[in-house]
Amino acid sequence: MAAKIMDFDKALELFEPVLGFEVHVELNTKTKMFSDAPNSFGREPNTDLAPVDLGLPGSMPVVNAQAVRYSISLGLALGCSIAASSRFARKNYFYPDLGKNYQISQYDEPIAYEGQVEVELEDGTLVEVPIERAHMEEDAGKLTHVGGAAGRIQGAEYSLVDYNRAGVPLVEIVTKPIFGAEHHAPELGAAYVRTIRDIVRALGISDARMERGNIRCDANVSLRPRGQEKLGTRTETKNVNSMRSVERAVRYEIQRQAAILADGGTITQETRHWHEDTGVTSPGRPKSDADDYRYFPEPDLLPVVPSRELIEELRAALPEPPAARRRRLKAEWGFTDLEFQDVANGGVLVEVEQTIAAGTTPAAARKWWTGEIARLANEAGRETSDLVEPAAVAELQKLVDAGTLTDKLARQVLEGMVAGEGTPQEIVDARGLAVVSDDGALIAAIDEALQAQPDVLAKIKDGKVQAAGAIIGAVMKAMRGQADAARVRELILERAAQ
């Protein structure tokens, strides 16, 4: 039975939404946070582990220097102060995906605190999202549930654990309560995560592919009746696996909570689970004192005391803040406001930038990323930015520029790239998609077409050049599109002139 929801606008009439986001960013260091096991994707389960990843008796953690540097850089990029002294803490709880049944995290002395991030909405409004803190911690392993419905935990017979991911470095970014988003609340969530993503990609510290779980978001939503001081009870929604989901989940929670409150009910403080397929949240476990994490300072690790010099070194190496960067790029690329907005709203700013860096013109880069790639992403329900690599898009465009591909053929190659068939050149070769540049072959096709439509030649000789169109069409069909239409036209006219 679906939960009752209120119309969104009505909900906002009656209630003020207050938001909070916890975003986890996976760092792309070579090794894990507390062990020298490799931090890489897609290996066979339980390979290349360090003893501490499995919590083996006698094993001990040792901090990854690079992860600390990345975390400080991220803190600075979020406008945070960097702690003079920062320490690790144990978060104690039992779960099979934990090697030690505690997570080494940070509690009372996070590495970064008190910052703000400027987020740009679709209509150009700038919202300043206040950051409470950013802290370092380690990821858990991966569970696979067997025997239940669709791999879900409920009703599973047993579960399998792979600890490859256990210990991967994470930075958790926690916002303060966000007020004033109003009708933009759902959009703000997605825009915020997108901004974090852009920041960490610009810093080069994370691949930040939401699909891969490199960046994860938990959305907190509460409502308070208009005019009330006291904050409402908040829910935390997990399993929000895409930007779109962030937006949808926030919107849904607002509508769901509004319906309950309007009926005179109360909101249960709980963790909820987002379902992308049905577009609803469902309750997880109620937040209770079963979540007594018994934090205490990690005795096996020592405090992190970043020097002045290190902080200034990292600060000097920061890329420009997102707003300034956007202004610069818009000017450099010569886009209109609308064109630039398309790129920014499509969440492909970094991708366009990187495609241009790989040799494409701004116009071509924009055309691909806001055009065909966005269309394919939308169809597949995926993030545009995750679909293909900018360098590959640049390569594709080079093939078009060289005349090897027409736009139409290039779109076919793009589909192959998205399907993972290989590089553009590999796909062209494998599928035999290259434009035929051999005039001889074209002329042969033209002659065949002319023979089939004898009156056309006369028409052209007569000056009715448009008649060539029918021949071009026939030739393109015969060549399966692998011909440059302009060249075909040229050759036809040459023929006619003979």
Binding site: P51, L56, G58, M60, V62, G99, R294, P299, D300, L302
Partner: protein, 503 residues
């Protein structure tokens, strides 16, 4: 053959180097000794079937002219808290029965690299929680001085092994006195190094901020030789110190030469009056102080007003850290798993930990869970950490006046097996004098000070030094040892009862 086992490690090492005895012979002699007496003593949980192979390898390399370390070829007993790749590591618990570690503890790896021959794994209180080795899941160890008495704990196995001449050297661990107190009740030598002086990597953790690994031997020089092998920075242990350490064997030799005691200021803690100790223990302690004085040392009364809070603080900090350190024993990746025929993993975890942990371990885990509980942290664990600060301040102030502090190593001599097991509070008081060093991180040594006049059982004297001044303990310990052994006409262990044969 029996002569070999009566040699100190230093003496055996000399003979090995001189080619007078082979490592295979020495190892065989100790294996024979174990076979003869360990049925009664029960120091060992596991004897290394490959010991002779390792010994033969050392002999081979020596014969080939290879340059070997000073104690290469000497047999070594290893407390079962230290993980080994070739022998099971149980930490005295059923929950780890048969556990085979894929890596060696750093101290074990260094020992092997130095040519020491691991003889076997020794018995201990479960997860090092205890002062009598009666909490071992595999049955208690018996004190070689009186088989009906406890050998101390948690490292009773290692101490008993060296006291019974089953091994010349042993490795132990000390969290609240687990090396020093067994040394005291068995008439042997034990050192808890400065915190961070010896790697904890591969030592199954009890309380991370208190644990240290150290040598268990019959003489101070032997301890120094072993400490030289195992000590020093380990990048796998973030809390290990990067200091370069002097040779402790050299410090011991220097101490034995004699002049060290002249002008040495020895502090005696006002707040640990004789009345708090068994009469025979206090008497032996005073007698040793007299010997120190006779050799030119000055006895100075010092105040350590916060020592009395040590036990209370310790029994808040230890259980808290232990409750977290022992969470990893959950049936999932290693160790015991109880088959519940269905049941959730939470059920299996709970049932396994119920079946696999003994009463003392459960008690401390529950206590520790409570001490860390939401809302109680500041009052309990947080406050106990303040006592640590105060005790460190006591030590700093004291060491401003004296070079070393001396105390009896424990309040009583070896009590009878079963005597205190029903009363945890009574048991906890055994650690009264040893706990402050763990809280503060300073090094401590226990050497035999004699036999108690009231029951004829061994008594140990403990010395404490400032952090990083472990060498001072070796100098002072060796000096007093030389003087005492001289006055006794031979080591204290010469007077231990003869073991061997059916009981």
């Amino acid at each position: 053959m029996s002569d070999i086992i009566r040699l100190t490690a230093a003496e055996l090492a000399d003979k090995l180097a001189a080619g007078e005895v082979s490592s295979v012979e020495a190892t065989q002699a100790h294996l024979d000794r174990i076979a003869a007496v360990d049925g009664d003593v029960h120091a060992f949980l596991h004897v290394n079937e490959k010991a002779l192979d390792a010994a033969a390898d050392i002999d081979r390399r020596r014969a080939a002219g290879e340059q070997l370390g000073p104690i290469a070829g000497v047999p070594l007993a290893v407390k079962d808290v230290l993980v080994t790749t070739d022998m099971p590591s149980t930490s005295g618990s059923k929950i780890l029965e048969g556990y085979m570690s894929p890596f060696d503890a750093t101290v074990v790896a260094r020992s092997r690299a130095a040519g020491l021959v691991p003889l076997g794994k020794t018995n201990m209180d479960e997860f090092a929680m205890g002062s009598s080795t009666e909490h071992s899941a595999y049955g208690p160890t018996h004190n070689p001085w009186d088989l009906e008495r406890i050998p101390g704990g948690s490292g009773g196995g290692s101490a008993a092994a060296v006291a019974a001449f089953e091994a010349p050297l042993a490795l132990g661990s000390d969290t609240g006195g687990s090396i020093r107190q067994p040394a005291h009740v068995t008439g042997t030598v034990g050192i808890k190094p400065t915190y961070g002086g010896v790697s904890r990597y591969g030592a199954i953790a009890l309380a991370s901020s208190l644990d240290q690994v150290g040598p268990v031997t019959r003489t101070v020089l032997d301890a120094g030789l072993l400490h030289d092998v195992i000590g020093g920075h380990d990048p796998h242990d973030s809390t290990s110190l990067t200091d370069a350490w002097p040779s402790f064997a050299d410090a011991a030799r220097e101490g034995a030469r004699g002049d060290v005691l002249k002008g040495l200021k020895v502090g005696v803690v006002k707040e640990l009056p004789d009345s708090g100790f068994q009469a025979g223990v206090a008497e032996s302690f005073r007698a040793s102080l007299d010997v120190l004085q006779a050799h030119g040392a000055e006895i100075v009364e010092i105040s350590a007003p916060h020592f009395e809070y040590g036990v209370a603080a310790y029994y808040l900090i230890l259980p808290a850290e232990a409750s977290s350190n022992l969470a990893k024993f959950d049936s999932v990746r290693f160790g015991m798993r109880v088959d519940l025929n269905g049941g959730t993993v939470e059920d299996v975890m709970a049932a396994t930990r119920d079946a696999g942990f003994g009463d003392e371990v459960k008690r401390r885990i529950i206590l520790g869970t409570y001490a860390l509980s939401a809302g109680y942290y500041d009052a309990y664990y947080g406050s106990a950490q303040k006592v640590r600060t105060l005790i460190q301040q006591d030590f700093t102030a004291a060491f401003g006046q004296v070079d070393v502090i001396a105390t009896p190593s424990a309040p009583t001599t070896a009590f009878k097996l079963g005597e205190k097991i029903g009363d945890p509070l009574q048991m906890y008081l055994n650690d009264l004098t040893t706990i402050p060093a763990n809280l503060a991180g300073v090094p401590g040594i226990s050497i035999p000070s004699g036999l108690a006049s009231d029951d004829g059982l061994p008594v140990g004297i403990q010395f404490l030094a400032p952090a990083r001044e472990d060498a001072r303990l070796y100098r002072v310990g060796a000096a007093l040892e030389a003087a005492l052994v001289d006055s006794w006409g031979g080591p204290l262990l010469d007077r231990a009862p003869v073991l061997g044969g059916a009981r």
